[in-house]
Symmetry: C2
Subunit: 450 residues, 2 copies
């Protein structure tokens, strides 16, 4: 996050005059009210917000243009990259906000879903039902339209959100948050404090200690940002670390499919976390496959870093010798490390040792080999004959994505509305006491209810 433009953000934000403790307390209070709203009520609010954003689009675009102008000195001085400036000023993404908010409104209700129902005994019935987490803290960089994406998901799932954006987008962020808060304030049952905005990194760092009032922190941004949050939070954090994804071309691979999957996994979005960084090739097909795929990768401008066994097989192609460090590197670029392996076991062991447990694919026509790969590779996504780039909440049909989790707990892989919920056990009795059961006067039935 660039600090150089922070003093150019004079617009006072709704909640930012308050202390962080007060902001967190207000978010908790708002979350209590949100938990009472029905799905039709939440959807009505989202539809109204979408309309309000459309009406306010001229002001939003003007604020965004001001942010971009204010960022120019930082770009000239090298404090901000042109890629960051492009993300900051992406007017198409801002224009897409109302459509996104409406699409979230149309998703199924994630709350009040009955996960299990059990008759413990006569007149004693237990239900496990989904409910909101409560208060979510989200930190993001550069892209102001993220506010509407995140706020739509948190409101749909009955959660309050505290946002912290990049200071370079301060004007855009303030206007967008104001539109949301003003719209929410028009509904008597809906608290405007369901959405609040922090303005400084210090405020956000302080928020990380409010573990009584904040239930989850979601960092969306660079590896450095995610790890800063993980190191400094007393609140649970779900955010992805690295995406070191693999494509393994098995002895029983269809080599045309293998070329298509490898090229797509590397080239179609090289800076995205689900892009492949390493290609593993079974020795039995390496001689035939590697020149074939190298030609296509070369056409797409991909640099190959090969293991000692790869080098002679690609004698006519420029290949950089791979070092140990390559196997553990997320390039985020048109670079692919390539290793020849003796068998599937070596491929699986390599992935479990060097991978980041994100997404890994096998290309094979052998369903037994595919099953083995899927069972033994310890990653959130394990694919047969499909590009690692499919690992995404929209592609998976989750409707929306708050992030991709590398954690094995709570939410793993693409995280949609379900990741913003928890559950509670509701037990209905008729004066039942445990003493009757411990004394053997009554006995549990534990009958599942369909």
């Amino acid at each position: 996050m660039s600090a150089s433009t922070s003093k150019l953000a004079p617009i006072p934000a709704g909640s930012s005059q308050a202390s962080v403790a007060e902001i967190a307390r207000r978010a908790r209070a708002a979350s209590r009210l949100l938990a009472k709203l029905s799905n039709p009520q939440r959807n009505e609010v989202l539809q109204a917000v979408a309309e309000a954003i459309e009406k306010a689009m001229p002001q939003i675009l003007a604020a965004n243009a001001a942010d971009c102008r204010a960022a120019e000195p930082a770009v000239k001085s090298g404090d901000m990259t042109t890629a960051m400036l492009a993300r900051l000023g992406d007017q198409q993404k801002l224009a897409n906000m109302p459509g996104y908010v409406r699409s979230v409104a149309s998703l199924p209700d994630p709350l009040g879903k009955r996960l299990t129902a059990t008759e413990l005994d006569d007149g004693l019935t237990l239900y496990k039902e989904t409910c909101p987490l409560g208060v979510i803290g989200v930190v993001f960089e550069s892209r102001p339209e993220v506010i509407s994406q995140v706020a739509a998901l948190t409101l749909k799932s009955g959660n309050a959100v505290i946002l912290k954006g990049g200071s370079e987008a301060a004007r855009s962020n303030d206007v967008i948050v104001s539109v949301w808060r003003d719209c929410l304030g028009q509904f008597p049952a809906v608290p405007a404090d369901a959405i609040q905005l922090l303005h400084t990194r210090e405020e956000f760092t302080e928020l990380l200690s409010r573990d009584r009032d904040v239930d989850l922190i979601v960092p969306r941004g660079s590896y450095e940002l995610v790890h800063f949050v993980m190191r400094n939070s007393r609140i649970p954090v779900l955010g992805h670390g690295e995406g070191i994804c693999h494509v393994y071309v098995d002895a029983a691979a269809d080599l045309d499919k293998a070329v298509a999957v490898t090229v797509d996994a590397k080239v179609q979005g090289p800076a995205i976390c689900n892009a492949a960084e390493t290609l593993l090739v079974h020795r039995a097909v390496a001689k035939q496959f590697l020149p074939k795929v190298a030609t296509k990768l070369g056409e797409a401008g991909v640099e190959i870093r090969g293991c000692p066994e790869t080098m002679p097989l690609l004698a006519g192609t420029p290949v950089v010798p791979a070092t140990e460090k390559d196997w553990a590197t997320e390039y985020c670029d048109l670079i692919l490390s390539v290793k020849v392996v003796a068998d599937e076991d070596e491929a699986i062991a390599h992935i479990n040792q060097y991978g980041s447990r994100h997404t890994d694919a096998i290309v094979t026509e052998d369903s037994k080999a595919a099953r083995k790969f899927m069972d033994e590779v310890d990653s959130a996504g394990v694919f047969q004959n499909a590009s690692t780039r499919f690992s995404d909440g929209y592609n998976y049909g989750l409707g929306a994505e708050i992030g991709i989790s590398n954690s094995k707990l709570h939410a793993r892989g693409p995280m949609g509305l379900e990741g913003l919920t928890t559950y509670k056990y509701k037990l209905f009795g008729n004066g039942h006491t445990v003493a009757e059961y411990s004394q053997g006067l009554k006995h549990f039935k534990h009958r599942p209810i369909k």
Copy 2:
């Protein structure tokens, strides 16, 4: 954990000669093998372990007797309580181990459960399936039979476990772990390192930093132990903190049920986390209900700490005035704080402010009031007309319990085998690439498969 007996534990344990890094690495390797076992294979091992424990029971009881003898000086010097000694030397619990292991074997397979199935497009199908977490670290105090409980649950769920028990139970722990490891070692496909034992607090503290090889830490023991682990772990921790549970007697309560529920919630297991610590009474029924319940509580030896409004209503009963601190205290004893509230909203607000989000009950015949309480109280268990003491994995029909989680993430409330699993997404394609979809040549169908 008492350190005074640690030098009296000379039995060398299978794995304890290795460094913690090596132990963690072995556990990870073992977890890879465990993930390949079928449910019948896992059950066969558990049945064999149950038999081996039965055969080894004389040695186990002898080691346990030696532990108890060695602990006598610590009890005399006051370093160890007699309650701890009783837990350490509970021979009935040791004798129950084989039965417990067999009951875990009989539970349904928690692995390979299909959570969702979606046809993303023709020939491109996504499954979300449960799988083991990998490696679990468990620290516990005093009670050596916990080893067999935990090891049965982790093996059943395909996880490797690293255990750390109290030094006062070192001999018992070593013998029990040896029985498990020897039995596992007799199965060619099963790694003995699925179960390993640490011996010192320093080793366990070091384990808390092995976040690459350990997926989850479960502390079972005192509040101090749980919070020590939470403060010092780089690995996710699931353990319960406090259990400040409430019974709220509504205006529409059946007062006989209210007495039964209140007495059971306080008296039936006062040292257990799901016991009630505070009774909230609606003003409309306080005058009638409080003397009634106070008589029964008094008979059970319960000390009452009352709010200013409670005091005159219990003029004939010895009541200690409650202070602000009482509302936030887990007594773990026969003490109950009592507060009269103006309405249900005040009761809910009190619980959300002072409670520990564990389990809270409303006594009422008004189903609307019950629904409101259940929706608005932010706790893992919300009960109508039933004692808070029902909040337990066995009572809930989970079959077994590794602990009770106060976290809202991953596992909330009583945590059975499901809490020891995660999931992965398995995607089956036929050479599918994301480029075809981003270029609009193909379109997702996202059809749920029943």
